[in-house]
Amino acid sequence: MKLKKYYPIFGLILAVIFIQLLVSGIGMQFYLTQLTMSAYYGIVIIGLSILMGYAGQISIGHAAFFAIGGYTTAALTTMNFAALTDVPIVNFLIKTGLTISGMDPYGKKIIYISPWLSLFIAVIITIFIAALIGVPILKLKGHYLAMATLGFGIIIYRIVLGTSIFGEADGISDVPTFKFLFNFKINSDPALRVENYYIAWLIVVISIFILTNLINSRVGRALRSLHGNEEAANSMGVNISRTKLLVFILSAVLASVAGVFMTHFNGGIGPAESGVMRSVRYVAIVAVGGMANLWGTLIMGIILNYLSLRGYFGSYDDAVFGIILIVIMLFAPDGIFKLKYCNNFIKLIKKTS
């Protein structure tokens, strides 16, 4: 009985393996590149789904957390300590094995801090910022909440765009390889496509696992009650503000972690990742997937990002997302997986199988 809630996760793992075998089998393994990138965006989206769907809080600034993660790791790992080995702190880092030394493509010696350390720092920074702004922001409602999160997103975008260590308008490039567990590497080398694909999906699976557990826990029940009726939940002894804050931080951390890995996979990050349009896009995808539908948002996140990253929308990329928002809100405010014919379709499949 207990295992039952994990069935979808097993299904996901099988689907991931199946798709890899399928595309490699038919010689289309380059689809994996965009599937990997979509997977990272998918992590941001399921995090936002928990926040918007279960906690009922809109956030038009979620790209900011992705950028915080991505920029932290990009800025830290592209700093070259080769000339600073005498500085005590650098020396300490080198001795404790928290740095990596190597050569850049032009034969210069470089020493940079381990991406594991920068991942850790990024998560700490994200938790700190999310907690700091979460306390006042989550007291707001409706338009005020929308404005506040939008404002937060703009502040981060401005800081990224105006600060020289973040590369200003050019962003940061030449971000080094992230040596993952068992010597697997996260970088943009096309030869490592398959292992990168599995690493990305492993992180998706872990995130889904955590979120599924959260939804089914005591906190999860509190969340659901919270979306329905705050006063009632309050009177039942659920600590609303603490629960909301917890979810806000969790979804921020997921976005940030996705940002860290995506930046290493791409080998760089630019200010467009923290822009308002990016945040709006996340909101759009969560709306399409049906806010409180973890699997729905994940599927739509993967499909839409995949199509967008492959350039199928051409010059109409933004327009497509605008139309999606309108059409979904008009005809299927609960997401396309809640549409009647979709349900009938599922019933039909269940009957036949």
Binding site: I58, L140, H143, Y144, M147, I154, M277, D318, M329
Partner: protein
């Protein structure tokens, strides 16, 4: 700081402030009727500016602006007829999302109707080099036009919402839509009307600021964000508050430039706004009791 420079900073602040103010007013009309914020308001400004520029190639300026107002109003009406009216029991979250979608869609359509190039209307009086000397500081006459138009709109709206039947019905819709219906107000028509009105005011604003700020297919978003911030600062629904809030932010920004690097200007303005939101969410001139009654 020398007096004339101080004065110049204040006058420069007025220029940006007048743009913020005239943008913010547009938000309030739809808000006052429906209780929703139209995130596509910036696109009304863009449409007004763009179509006025196109018409001005064939007609004299006042007629071009009139046509632009008509075109934009029709767009406003269409939005309500085709989309807003069709929504069943929309929540605030749904409305925020759908108006964001509209804003993106209008912007992308404008990109393909016109193109990516920057355009502008000619100055209403004088030309690009004209400015009025004011105790050693200078102000271009177009700023006075924008301020004058904003004041006229505020006065007109104040009169309209207070003394006309249509205006009162619109306010009734906003406080309680069911009660308004029971009183025999055709709420649907009032909502359409509010979209038309705010599109028209957006178009006038877009045309008025075009000589200063110039118009491009994607200029709506950044205007709308600032305008929205100012509308909240002044107290949502309060047009006088919007003008005061707009000028205040404009002047503060301008003065901050004299001591701080410019790169973080927007970040500073928004930080101030966030702090105000946290401390007094009803805005400078908004009454907290009223905002507490609103259903969010």
């Amino acid at each position: 700081m020398k007096f004339e420079y101080l004065l110049q900073y204040i006058l420069s602040g007025l220029t940006n402030g007048s743009i913020y103010a005239i943008t913010a007013i547009g938000f309030n009309i739809i808000y006052n009727t429906t209780g929703i914020i139209n995130f596509a308001q910036g696109e009304f400004l863009m449409l007004g500016g763009m179509s006025a520029i196109t018409f001005s190639q064939y007609f004299p300026l006042p007629i071009a602006i009139l046509f632009a107002v008509i075109v934009t109003s029709i767009v406003g009406a269409l939005i309500d007829f085709t989309i807003i009216r069709r929504m069943k029991k929309p929540t605030v979250l749904n409305m925020i999302i759908i108006t964001i979608g509209l804003s993106i869609l209008i912007r992308e359509i404008a990109l393909h109707v016109w193109d990516e190039k920057v355009r502008s209307l000619p100055y209403f009086t004088g030309d690009e080099t004209t400015s009025i000397n004011f105790f050693g500081a200078y102000i271009p006459p177009q700023v006075l036009w924008v301020l004058g138009i904003s004041t006229l709109i505020v006065v007109f709206l104040g009169f309209f919402f207070k003394y006309t039947v249509a205006g009162r019905s619109m306010r009734a819709c906003s406080s309680n839509i069911t009660a308004a219906k029971l009183c025999g107000i055709k709420t649907n028509n009032m909502i359409t009307f509010s979209f038309v009105l705010s599109a028209a005011i957006g178009a006038v604003a877009g045309a008025a600021i075009s000589p200063i700020a110039q118009t491009q297919y994607d200029c709506g978003t950044s205007l709308a964000i600032k305008g929205f911030a100012v509308a909240i600062l002044g107290g949502l629904g309060n047009s006088t508050g919007a003008v005061i809030g707009g000028l205040l932010i404009g002047i503060l920004e301008s003065l901050s430039i004299s001591i701080l690097p410019l790169a973080y200007k927007d970040a500073i303005a928004i930080t101030i706004l966030l702090i105000i939101l946290f401390v007094k969410p009803s805005g400078l001139l908004g009454k907290s009791e009223i905002s507490a009654l609103k259903e969010f």
